[in-house]
Symmetry: C2
Subunit: 196 residues, 2 copies
């Protein structure tokens, strides 16, 4: 007995979620239809709305509903320091420390040769344009302390040094091998103060 068509379609569509295989997708579809149709409808609407409204900030590349995000437009922030992070979640972790009042650039990824992600895929060119605004004096590389994050920091540092810009890296108070998003705030604040 083939499953009904719109159920098949849903199971297949759920597999676009990272880490969700055929069995998980079938479980999710069953759960939503049998126990949480309200949740399914809310998710449907949230997906459609996010895809419609979310674009990239023209200055820092993070997700925003506006042309330029509120952080980039904030006149209270110090435009001479630019902090480069991998994802919006990493930026949020930096912000929660309260220890940084400068600007951000969000790579929306990291260099990962094994996954075929090179410098052009993480907006390196956009970053090089960004730092040429005549205001940025220091670029703080706050990519994760993983192999890919270190590679990414290294590649960016080389490109910026060639342009005569000062680059720093969060101090290694951040545990090696961990991701910023999971690090306690004190450690991040400490690493920021001791950047080199």
């Amino acid at each position: 007995m083939p499953a009904p068509h719109s159920l098949d379609t849903l199971v297949q569509a759920l597999r676009c979620l990272p880490g969700v295989g055929a069995k998980s997708a079938a479980r999710m579809a069953f759960h939503l239809l049998q126990r949480d149709r309200e949740g399914a409808l809310q998710l449907s609407e949230a997906l459609a709305r996010a895809v419609q409204t979310m674009r990239h900030c023209e200055r820092c590349h993070t997700f925003t509903e506006a042309q330029i995000c509120s952080t980039c437009l904030d006149p209270a922030r110090d435009p001479s320091r630019l902090c480069v992070v991998e994802t919006p979640a990493d930026q949020a972790a930096m912000e929660r420390t309260g220890a940084f009042g400068g600007m951000y650039f969000v790579l929306m990824g990291r260099i990962s040769p094994l996954d075929g992600v090179g410098p052009n895929d993480i907006g390196l060119k956009k970053l090089l344009d960004r730092v040429n605004d005549g205001l940025v004096q220091e670029v703080i590389l706050a990519t994760n302390f993983t192999a890919e994050g270190e590679t990414t920091a290294y590649v960016i540092a080389q490109a910026l040094k060639a342009r005569g810009l000062r680059t720093t890296r969060l101090a290694r108070g951040v545990p090696v091998g961990s991701e910023l998003e999971y690090v306690d705030l004190g450690t991040i604040a400490h690493a920021l103060a001791e950047r080199r």
Copy 2:
């Protein structure tokens, strides 16, 4: 910096999926918006359509877009034998064996006192109505061989015996503690042939 509103809404909405916590939801939202907007839109549409079109078959209780599902309407199937399963996935596993040509009743769950799921929550009353069609002579209990599945089979068997109906259970060729969906076809076919 608070995340933009429609992104927040999406992260929150993704948590309606079973097994998805705050961190997974944030990862999924990032992945969809950054790498698979097409998939996000397809998922949005599939969710809306499934919720709109999927209802329960009036005879067997499984998901269907029609009033009565194609299995229940199939005149080639033997109406004297009714196989009771927990989910559509279990029914599909039975069908793949090719060893059963009777009808089905899909509980859409199992009795689980620890989760507060009792006989009324799995359509026991609907099943008792179903078996009173004057055609069903044997009810094959093919609930899973887990603690909850065994409990469910026991409760149904007691209710049906009180009505003078013959009930059988898949033979214990099915490994104890496993779920039908994952059992190889030969084992299921064997267990069906040796039902007691």
